[in-house]
Symmetry: C2
């Protein structure tokens, strides 16, 4: 092959491609965690805590039974056995939410259920299995030491204790503990608002039937799924005609923290977005050393982060995962690292790459190991559909031979 020659400026490729790691660094430098907002408890699942949660009161807040049985004075059970039960007077019961209203006197017992308040004067609970009621009395067949089966106030959580730390992504049990503490509204990091701008005169909106030479937009659909996965809110700006003023308007409309612009399938002369970003703000990345996805860009317009994603669906997916995703996750208080589950397995076939370029290789996990799928044709969306995940060949590697153990990022 001869050397590439100069071409019409509108169609030239990227002559200089930035390393992905450097682009990622430039991007993450611009990302700060968004502000907090208060959401109702039940809406807090999966959200990121914006502040430490400190218990205003202890849990439990009162002495409570940890077993079904009888509240007693422990010392009065000493010496009890199956052959020599000790008889106590059964004076009442304590149920959850319905305490025995008085103090326990000497020689008395109160029937008690798990979670019910232990009456004053009692200091232990005899399990129901070791007692039997008869004629207004209860026979105790086992001695119990003081404090047995009694949960002390603060046993689980002490007042003033930090229960959950800022930055925690709330799991079901975390929201449960917030509920126990009486918290009704939870301070969480606001969800990043991500506008999706799809350009391309050949595109029909998702849900359409393709006709003649027009194809149906897949990128906005893919991006919506990824944005939701990353805890952000997608806003569809619709399909914007490849006209300068239309794209400029979609970029300048207020309300977004991040804008993702994806081309039709073209990265050539119809590519207005990079010029607009450069004019209205700063175009910091344009062209990355990655395959696929080299025509990826990043810039800022005011406070808004703008990503220029390739029009090819697989390139769009890969560029999102490696560059836009980290930014969106960090804005939302999550880790910028890839959220995929990882698995290590040996390569069933070699992967070739070139020095200086990051390769995003779709793979299948089979019994024979990790099988790379055809890497040519970034438009082959089915390669990502057929794949179980991807491996990343770093720029300092020319690839790996069969048998090399690699790390697979699983799509699921």
């Amino acid at each position: 092959m001869g050397d590439p020659v100069d071409v019409d400026v509108r169609m030239r490729g990227f002559r200089q491609r930035m390393e992905v790691a450097r682009a990622r660094e430039l991007i993450l430098e611009r990302c700060r965690r968004l502000d907090a907002e208060l959401v109702p408890l039940r809406a807090a699942h999966g959200r990121v805590l914006a502040e430490d949660i400190v218990a205003a009161r202890p849990v439990p807040a009162f002495r409570r039974a940890a077993m079904d049985g009888y509240a007693v004075r422990a010392e009065e059970t000493f010496g009890a056995s199956a052959y020599n039960p000790i008889l106590l007077e059964l004076v009442g019961e304590s149920l959850p939410g319905m305490p025995y209203g008085r103090s326990l006197a000497s020689g008395q017992a109160v029937r008690i259920m798990t979670g019910a308040p232990v009456p004053d004067g009692a200091d232990a609970v005899v399990m129901a299995e070791y007692a039997r009621e008869q004629d207004g009395k209860v026979a105790i067949y086992e001695p119990v030491p003081p404090k047995k089966h009694v949960s002390e106030p603060g046993e689980d959580i002490k007042a003033g204790e930090r229960v959950l730390a800022a930055g925690r992504r709330l799991r079901p049990q975390d929201v449960g503990v917030l509920s126990s503490l009486g918290i009704a509204r939870v301070p969480v990091v606001r969800k990043p608002r991500v506008r999706i701008v799809v350009t391309g005169n050949e595109l029909l909106p998702a849900g359409s039937t393709p006709t003649d030479y027009r194809i149906v937009d897949a990128n906005s659909v893919i991006l919506e799924g990824l944005i939701a996965r990353d805890g952000a809110e997608a806003e569809m700006a619709g399909i914007v005609p490849d006209r300068r003023e239309e794209i400029a308007r979609a970029l300048s409309e207020p309300g977004a923290d991040v804008i993702l612009v994806t081309g039709g399938t073209s990265v050539g002369r119809e590519d207005h977005a990079p010029l607009i970003v450069a004019e209205q703000g700063q175009l910091l990345v344009h062209g990355i050393a990655m395959r696929p996805s080299s025509p990826t860009g990043f810039g800022v317009v005011g406070e808004v982060l703008v990503f220029l994603l390739p029009g090819n669906p697989v390139s769009c997916l890969a560029a999102y995962d490696l560059l836009a995703g980290p930014a969106i996750r960090r804005l939302g208080g999550r880790s910028p690292e890839l959220p995929h589950e990882r698995r290590r397995a040996p390569l069933a076939r070699k992967i070739s790459s070139v020095l200086g370029r990051l390769d995003y290789v779709r793979v299948q996990l089979t019994e024979q190991g990790v099988v790379p799928l055809a890497t040519s044709g970034a438009s082959i969306l089915t390669s990502a559909v057929k794949a179980d995940g991807f491996v990343l060949v770093p720029p300092n590697s020319e690839g790996w031979s069969a048998g090399t153990e690699v790390e697979v990022f699983l799509y699921d």
Copy 2:
């Protein structure tokens, strides 16, 4: 300790506890995948496909350029070089969605963008890098073989090809490919409707401030998070007083596929739910050989699966994950297996268990290995909050010594 003695029937413990594996089997026998429903494309993310998806048309549907450049007759470029370019007449352009309307004649070239239709008469695309326009002509500096940079119809997907199989949980790129195929409504498995019935006179609804001897419900909040994780829809029946007729009504109200009943914190005399299930349907499981969570039950009332979950939050969480979760996931078309990411690591401290019982042990993952947290006190919700995940000690094991490699199910 003496032998347990008989106790009041209302308060007796479970004398016979079913093995968890057997209970799980009985439960899963009752679970069939729910019917299909059609949802709009954009609502299909994460849903389970109910039917195979077969392509009605090929993708691409027309011959399209895979590169920016010039559509040519390949044979006319043979012999071209940087020193000896071949000149072709530039007769027009083909853009995505805007084809060059005519056939390419001998000696002609058409400027073409990635994704644009390749004109009849042309059979290859010369990359823009290897061509230069001048004076209505284009100089070609590299020969191309026929079909170069031309995607043939059906290259990605052939008409009639099965693109996605029933049972697939749809990933972002899967929904993207459905969009490309022109599918507007997607047949997915209906989401299981799961009613949460919380009983307990001591309970205040989530979002309340605890007062005196009343505590705030955490279980319904935890269950809501778990149900959403498992792809089902939660319906809150509210906090139902511990009265037979109230609980019976909450169980008989139509509309649910699954009902989860969770006690206040009691499993004793106030426990109406098992009796109601036994009377109105079949109580198939009552008491399982598991720690925590032994007071777990399962039955069917009509077509509805009813789970009786312990009132203690951690027990409730564990019983959901091991018994209710598998059923809900299978109804929704997912795998009944635990959805948690798994990691293998050595135990930093020993875990003791007893034969015949499954232990659900909350653990932390530290640099020293897997650290089991206190397993006593199922009500200690913070143990599940502090934990990174859990390990399961099977019934045939008395536990493991420090250093044993174990599988941790991660909560996140």
